[in-house]
Amino acid sequence: MDFDFSDDQEMLRDSVRKWVEKSYAFEQRRAIVKAGGFSREAWRGLADLGLLGLQVPEAQGGLGFGAVDAMVVMEELGRGLVLEPYAGVALVATQLLRASHAPSAALWLEGIARGTQIVALAQEERHSRYRLHHVETQARQSGGNWQLSGTKTVVPAGGEAAAFIVSARTGGTVDDPAGVALFLVSKGEPGVEVRPYPTQDGATAADLVLDQASGIELLPAGPALAALEYAVDTGIAALCAEAVGAMDRLVALTVEYMNTRKQFGVPIATFQALRHRMADVKMQLELARSMSYFATLKLGEAPAARRRALSQAKVQLGQSMRFVGQQCIQLHGGIGVTDEYAASHYFKRLTVIEMTFGDTMFHLGEVSAHMQDTAGVFA
């Protein structure tokens, strides 16, 4: 039982925080949003720090670090509202490439670690609503090659990606957990169309339209879904940590504002109604932090226990993000709803995090469906 960070982890945190302060001040971020929600320069900065290879094996030029290190990085990126899809590429896609035995997987991992290639997970579909096994995209084998057809939605930084990890069906009906395989599809191949758009949080995503596009099989049906579930769970843990960082900063901004803003001749921090609201915000922040730790520390459990734990964490984080986000806007009053001031940008990012990898209601359904007789941190 130990929730302290190691000295190395504190140093890692420190270096990420310094980079965020230097390269990702609010005005710099605003410029990146304006330029399309992705900065090559920032991405290079993350690569230079070694962060893109954080979980890439050393053999492929990475650091081979663990889950707690990823949590530390994500908290700091969350604090700075970093737009680039770090978790999606350096954690989730990396995890899937590591699980693959395809010969090209190692090359893509090297590209990720160097920062020269972005590989994005294209898993969501218009009707899948967070269910990883709900896949309409089809994969057909013809002459030893796989051809994929279908549409994937909200692919993070899809417009910037050199390749996509695509879930597609090699058999079974649309909701069948069997028959879902994972493929790697390169941009620029015939039948691959990318339709980018900005997202609500200032970042960028894309729809990926595949029409008999050729794909390399990363993982066959069976192992693919298990690997996808695990990778998405690492993504959930990463988002939980990002949310904690973002909430931490948003709460700090709100505290500062409440101590400065005067009405009726006194700082608004003196009003009990607002003080109690802030106490409730603090409660949600600390519950969220606790469950973010829980999410990361449960990643190594057996699949059923792991998935239950990650869903529990996402429920808590979802509730916390909505409450902290909404209330910190409210506590700011009018300035909170403006585009000019940072609070609204934190709120929008927290909102998008809730709707990534399963929202609160979705995960509550998962918890509810898989409850055991006993429950608790060690259950």
């Binding site: 130990d2 302290d4 003080r275 519950l287 730790y293 409850m371």
Partner: protein, 393 residues
């Protein structure tokens, strides 16, 4: 970072578990598991069983005869006893007054009072709240005037939990009206058998006699029963509050009651109702999150590397959760919780009306638990404290 207990901690847990399995009387744990009323004799029987093993003062250091456990070991002890269905230890002696006597009492006072607390022989009560002093405790009015080698105490305490059984009571009394209200308060130990002490029941909405008024009419208290210095009692009381840490969240009991809630929901046919089960799922997440927060505090205490000032949050969340599980259990019983069957609160009643013995106490427990967000510093007072920490003033 590591979520698991060390092998030594695991072994410690096993040792406690085995001991509790052997020593906790089944008729007592059965009552606890069904919210059936415990008698004074039963509460004290368990206290004495623990006392005999040196564990009633489970938070005590070795020099005072305690086991000298660290924060994690204390937590594991609390968890294993709670999960096994042990009654809550009446805290006034071993958890509340004893640490104050250890820290501020004279060696004579320690020798005189601690053994009776450690063994469970002497029943202690708490004399803090007064009719006019609830959240604003420092405004308390009960007076103690020094006359030679004794104090003369006059006034009234209230909400004295289980005071009907009390043999001794520790009181905050006013010894001075000078300066700020906090600076005129003293910490006095009073023998409840003294002439002039009257205990009157307060019946709460669940029909139970759990709390009392205690009246003091010219009660003579030997001056050697004053703890520490005169007019410094507020400091000692605050020390006492700081001493209850993670225990106030009562997360171990919550885990036990969540299990019970699931059993009740199955028995009453609402487990398969998605709307109902989702509420249980929500509570389950709340309990896991609370447990994680408790574990963070324990880890911080153990390592000493970071300070984690969340006692107020633990109290607020823990009490809300206690209310929620009793509420859901009552709602699971539905109309079967409506009949008022007083004899169902005693053991042995088999039940032939409505839902029977299983569900009869559920509403009473729900009503009873409204106290948790009020006592120990109301949740609104806790929010004031939390806000002060967060906002810096």
């Amino acid at each position: 970072m590591d979520l698991s207990f060390t092998p030594e901690e695991q072994a410690f847990r096993e040792q406690i578990r085995a001991w509790v399995a052997q020593n906790l009387p089944k008729e007592i744990s059965d009552k606890v598991r069904h919210s059936i009323r415990l008698t004074r004799e039963e509460m004290q029987r368990w206290a004495k069983i623990l006392g005999k093993n040196g564990w009633l003062g489970w938070g005590w250091p070795k020099e005072f005869g305690g086991p000298g456990w660290n924060a994690i070991q204390k937590h594991l002890f609390e968890e294993e006893t709670a999960l096994a269905g042990a009654p809550r230890i009446v805290p006034f002696g071993p958890v509340m007054v004893a640490p104050v006597i250890m820290a501020f009492g004279t060696p004579e006072q320690q020798k005189r009072f601690l053994p009776g607390i450690a063994s469970g022989e002497v029943w202690w009560s708490q004399g803090y709240s007064e009719p006019g002093s609830g959240s604003d405790l420092a405004s308390l009015k009960m007076r103690a005037e020094r006359r030679g080698d004794r104090y003369i105490a006059n006034g009234q305490k209230t909400w004295t939990t289980l005071g009907q059984y009390g043999e001794w009571i520790f009181c905050l009394v006013r010894t001075s009206n000078e300066g700020k209200p906090q600076t005129g308060i003293s910490f006095l130990l009073i023998d409840m058998k003294s002439p002039g002490v009257t205990v009157r029941p307060i019946i709460t909405m669940d029909g139970e006699h759990e709390v009392n008024e205690v009246w003091f009419d010219n009660v003579e208290v030997p001056a050697d029963q004053l703890i520490g210095e005169e007019n410094k009692g507020w400091t000692y009381a605050k020390y006492l509050l700081a001493h209850e840490r993670t225990n106030i969240a009562d997360v171990n009991r919550a885990k036990r009651e969540l299990e019970r809630l699931k059993r009740v929901a199955r028995a009453e046919g609402v487990w398969d109702d998605t709307r109902f089960r989702d509420e249980i799922a929500r509570l389950e997440v709340d309990i896991v999150a609370l447990e994680m927060m408790v574990l963070r505090v324990l880890s911080a205490e153990k390592s000493g590397k970071q300070s984690l000032d969340v006692a107020g949050l633990l109290k607020i969340r823990g009490s809300e959760i206690q209310q929620r599980y009793t509420e859901l259990m009552m709602l699971a019983a539905g109309p079967a919780a409506v009949p008022l069957i007083r004899e169902a609160m005693d053991a042995g009643w088999q039940g032939d009306r409505a839902g029977g013995a299983f569900v009869a106490p559920l509403a009473a427990t729900y009503f009873n638990m409204r106290k948790t967000t009020i006592y120990g510093g109301s949740n609104e007072v806790q929010r004031n404290i939390v806000a002060q920490t967060v906002l810096g003033s």
